[in-house]
Symmetry: C2
């Protein structure tokens, strides 16, 4: 089956499976190989790589292999950040995606190293995936770096939790928004298009996702969220709910989704992409708000 004939979910899982399978055995310690696989499968909703592929498709998706690599790289970075965020020195989370966290299952050393390995593998995925379009490699790397590294990627966002004075919106932009922006921009680059028109979509969706995550943490039970809830209050972390209240945070979320839909540039796949964004928004909203809105 060609990449184009496959569903987005199938493309993402196939690309991730091939990348993980390639680094199992042949010298990788069995415990580390198991931890890396556990960190990636089964996945969550694969929101970021789906967004990356949706943008690539809206942009014509002329090199599906490049788009698959970009989507997989974005997801591997997300998985790496979850493994490291869950470590005892950060959130000390016992569960993730509804199962015991990586460090609880494989030990702290393997959790640190699994995160490192996933970061490295993400760049490797881009280098491999761009064999047919080498001129797209450097811009894809730069975009991914902007999403995860310094000065304004996930790593910086996470490190703001160690500072005494924090700008909450900047913190969210880095910790969550930056990788959404990388996902939309990478989707455009992977399809040979300019990334600039796609930054606003990633920004708005990242902010919406963060708002939804804060709402979920405040109102949902652990079963709905797949990870411990009430952690923002417990850890005194900056949160939209803390600053805007429950209803204010929900209104903020609705506004961001509208903004995301409005930001989609005029292109062949625009209407399909608008539907995908709306569907994601419904999926993101905690059940009690979906009910009250309906």
């Amino acid at each position: 089956m060609s990449s184009k004939a496959m569903s987005s979910q199938a493309r993402i899982e196939t690309a991730l499976e091939a990348l993980i399978a390639r680094v199992e055995g042949d010298g990788t310690p069995p415990g580390l190989a198991a931890a890396v696989r556990y960190a990636v499968f089964p996945g969550g909703a694969r929101v970021r790589p789906s967004l990356c592929l949706a943008v690539a498709e809206a942009c014509g998706d002329d090199q599906p292999g490049v788009a698959n690599a970009a989507a997989a790289a974005v997801e591997l970075m997300h998985c790496a950040s979850l493994v490291h965020d869950d470590l005892p020195c950060f959130d000390d989370a016992d569960t993730r995606r509804g199962k015991p966290s990586v460090h609880l299952t494989f030990g702290e050393p393997r959790a640190v190293l699994a995160g490192d390995a996933l970061i490295v593998l993400a760049f490797d995925a881009l280098a491999q995936g761009c064999a047919t379009a080498p001129q797209r490699l450097a811009p894809l790397i730069r975009t991914l770096v902007q999403g995860v590294g310094l000065p304004r990627g996930i790593v910086s966002g996470q490190a703001w939790e160690s500072e005494t004075e924090v700008d909450v919106s900047l913190y969210h932009q880095m910790k969550t928004g930056a990788l959404f922006v990388a996902a939309t921009r990478a989707g455009a680059i992977a399809a040979g298009q300019s990334p600039a028109p796609w930054t606003a979509l990633g920004d708005a969706l990242g902010a919406a996702y963060q708002a939804a995550d804060d709402l979920l943490d405040a109102v949902a039970d652990a079963d709905e969220g797949g990870k411990p809830t009430g952690r923002d209050v417990a850890l005194s972390r900056p949160s939209l709910v803390a600053s805007l209240g429950l209803r204010g945070a929900y209104e903020h979320l609705r506004g961001l989704v509208d903004q995301a839909v409005a930001s989609i540039p005029d292109c062949a796949g625009a209407s399909g992409l608008r539907e995908i964004v709306q569907a994601q928004a419904v999926r993101l909203t905690p059940k009690q708000f979906s009910r009250s809105a309906a």
Copy 2:
């Protein structure tokens, strides 16, 4: 001053300084920025990037900016591995390069994130540095990945410490040798040459360096080594001294240096490179062996 007129040490420090300076401020949390700088400066002997540049120079060094980026990327990966290796869940080292370790100085969260940031920055360095020779980017990334990632790079090497059965020579090859091989191969690729003839040099030097490190751990005081000594025995880590004895490990080291010198391919800069390798070998040998050999 052009890159070519600068000494190798100046090229390396200049390249590293430019990379680190670029990610300070502009959103990076001050504590993380300080931890990242602390992890990179002042450096140790910069053995790996020096080797990378020496090979690039022996290969003609037609694109000094690419070679500088490759050397800096190799060193950033090395720094990242030191920061993570020193974490409480691994070596729990209080000192490194003669000063308190990163996690002791900046806390464990910032140490984890500084390592992550340095890994990301290494790939960013390659993407930036290859702007003038984009066809060298993918091979440089692949080579760096082989040095640090799965299945046989530093991360795998470190993870073998969590397994119950370990092949000592394979463990050393991954934990130390792999990045030396990446350094020599990256030097050749950065100069537009095939990396294959340079693998043996990296292999032999990596093994020599590991032998010297084991000897130093067994016989030197902490002052000479710049980090705690006697750790292999204290942590029951596999070590050449444990398996060959002190004298055997020293003979092994001498043999590896001869092997490294003999492996240098015929090229314009071969004799200069042979001198550099010999000088490194003398520098690496703990004082008591230098004295007894002299």
